[in-house]
Symmetry: C2
Subunit: 429 residues, 2 copies
């Protein structure tokens, strides 16, 4: 954990280093993934069988070894205890409601010269959703990725997930039932992403691949960007809490730890204007490590990447926060709006003392798939738009073409493209 | 050129091969680009000096060797003949008007449990636009890329362009003046994209890189995706014309050639239900080759990639067109709407006999940067959204947190994330 003070002489040097620090992908991972993608493209299902045996100790032989049926998902859903089933349904319906508000408007109008112009949105036909196996198999993540696809109007939503030794996660299957997933294949890693992008004998290709995963999955998506649409290049995630001294230290400590417990590479950052409050939070975090079941991961994250920035005034916070462009920004003050108004780069913002980031992870409604690694400078959270595309259209009348055609002919000729010019001028004569 | 007939027995095999056919990037290009990116990241300006000397025979020494001033752009604009200057202004103002209609709406509402939810859009701070040198330096392309950035609200718009032997294209400089470009650097190739993404001593980094380029530029953008936002992976472009026999063959021939003259890898496709009309168009194209100044490129494209599909009825056209998911689709019939209503995958659609694709390239208003290589299945044309990002926000009251917090706690516990649960439960007690 580093403690920096903006008034210290070496602050800028140290802070700039943190902003620049970007954990890079491994070149060896890149080469391994390229091989896997190529094998799946060339050999289809037989490559999947081999990789799944090697990496997941699972034999893809009969239908049930390859896929998990809708009936199995329904059964998993029915097995849940009532409270958990209800929590899943509440989350799903709130996520659905928020994302329905993202559906874009088509445009269709005729301008002053009589030219009809517009744009029409439509969903992609099929989307693939990668769901990690093991510890990181989160039902909330399935809901956050699957529901926007369904709201967008995607007809075929395919999940791939590794089932090491054949074991699937009941809660994830239940979430798949709630979200309306259409197909589930027991395949993981880069080979699953390749199967979704290229298609195999058994798995028809999709148009967009989303979902979290390890370094191999992330690299596979990166390499296949353009063959399919992808959600985003995801890196280690982060939380940045802007807090004055009028917060309970144990609340803010829990907020910081909720990011740290995800992964040793996660980053938790506190910006505060009160040295005493900062100490209380740091002490509280040390206390939590004694009892938190996820202390090992959380402590590794906090020790290596934790950061406390002491400012003279919280007025300094927006500019510092923008440079870090964090995935999650909490503003725990009486007037969070004042700071929010000055923020520009953040994945999602949590306003006020009663809005812990975790409420957004599960149930508030907005998506929890958000840009990491300073990418909030240019990227947005997952939305229905990631599962849709826009077709522009133009319809000219004789009059409209007469009005602007000659200018287009002039530009085409100036660019040395005579057939372009001809295609217009022939219609004008 | 291939002529296929849907009623022939081998149609499906041959058509499927064309749909599958995707010209791949070269592995050697990938390695060369990786080296260049690394050199620019490590050595900044000095790497740019070396590459620019080697590839463009241009010495980056004084200020004027490095950059082109706004005054120089203004001077180039003033030198244009009146008709061309007016054409450029007409194009710019129509493009601007269309893209202003794309500006997204923010959301901010309070739901039934008192939870404030919303999303706020903002522009990226800086965008980089690659402009090719030589033959492909199109002023229309500069307008189509730069204007959406400025409409989005980007403060700093940087152009990089190679100036082989120091020569810049006057028309491009004039377009830069019209579009309000802020900085222009005389650097090209993968090294220019690297400079935009990483920043060097002289060129401050940007957040998004757009613009067309050769294979090295395209590969550099692909490799830097995630470090910066990029517009799209662009491949060879294509036009698909759906036409009945009531068209003038010389109009449709010009339309097909307007795509073919761009590049030998371009693809022009005609779908028609009339064998005689198809022959007339093909004959006309052969005639054009005798006089068209760009015949060499156009003929190479048409010979290698040209396609005529004969259908029994134009009712077959939408499904075939969707499988090709072409960048440009012209519908040259009396009732283009009937076919358009059944289309789903296309970059841009041109409705009716009086709407040649070229009118969209220059002046209609919608963007001419469109998804190629079947990517219209999942991708859209360039828009102001490519230069903006969305920050979601959540504001809970005590009551709202009480209403849904317990469900979130349950999900967090089920996922094995106790600090997530604590961050909520502590606020509820």
């Amino acid at each position: 954990m580093q403690l920096l003070r903006t008034r210290d002489a070496d602050f800028e040097t140290k802070f700039a280093k943190i902003v620049r620090d970007r954990r890079e992908s491994d070149a060896q991972v890149g080469r391994d993934v390229a091989t896997i993608l190529n094998e799946v493209r060339e050999r289809g299902d037989s490559a999947l069988v081999e990789y799944t045996k090697r990496f997941d100790q699972h034999n893809l032989t009969g239908e049930d070894d390859w896929s998990i049926s809708k009936e199995a998902c329904k059964a998993a859903y029915d097995r849940l205890d009532d409270a958990l089933r209800e929590a899943l349904e509440t989350a799903a319906s709130r996520i659905r409601a928020y994302h329905e508000g993202q559906l874009p408007q088509d445009r269709d109008y005729t301008d002053e010269i009589g030219m009809r112009l517009g744009a029409r949105w439509s969903a992609v036909e099929a989307a693939g959703l990668y769901v990690p196996g093991g510890r990181a198999a989160y039902p909330s993540s399935l809901l956050m990725n699957a529901i926007p696809a369904k709201v967008a109007g995607v007809e075929r939503l395919v999940v791939t997930t590794p089932t090491p030794g054949g074991e699937a996660n009941d809660l994830v299957l239940a979430a798949a039932h709630v979200a309306g997933v259409d197909e589930i294949y027991r395949v993981g890693g880069a080979q699953a992403v390749a199967a979704l992008a290229f298609g195999t004998e058994r798995i028809a290709r999709v148009d967009v691949v989303v979902g979290p995963g390890n370094a191999w999955v992330a690299e596979a998506k990166r390499q296949l960007y353009g063959v399919v649409g992808i959600d985003m290049v995801a890196g280690p995630s982060e939380i940045l809490v802007i807090a004055d001294k009028n917060n309970k230290p144990e609340w803010i400590a829990a907020d910081l730890l909720s990011q740290a417990e995800h992964d040793p590479t996660s980053q938790s950052i506190l910006i505060t204007d009160d040295r005493g409050f900062a100490s209380q939070v740091m002490d509280q975090i040390d206390l939590e490590f004694l009892k938190l079941p996820t202390a090992k991961t959380a402590k590794a994250s906090w020790d290596d990447h934790g950061l406390v920035v002491l400012v003279d005034s919280l007025d300094e916070a927006p500019a510092l926060s923008d440079r870090l462009a964090a995935e999650h920004v909490e503003i725990a003050t009486d007037d969070p709006e004042a700071i929010f108004a000055k923020l520009r780069h953040a994945g999602s913002v949590f306003l006020g003392r009663m809005t812990p980031e975790a409420v957004g992870d599960y149930i508030a409604g907005p998506n929890h798939v958000l840009p990491t690694g300073r990418r909030a400078r240019f990227a947005s959270g997952l939305s229905v738009l990631d599962f849709m595309k826009r077709t522009s259209f133009i319809g000219a009348t004789d009059g409209a073409l007469k009005a602007i055609g000659p200018a287009a002919v002039r530009l085409a000729e100036a660019e040395g493209l005579p057939a372009h010019a001809l295609s217009i001028s022939r219609r004008l004569s």
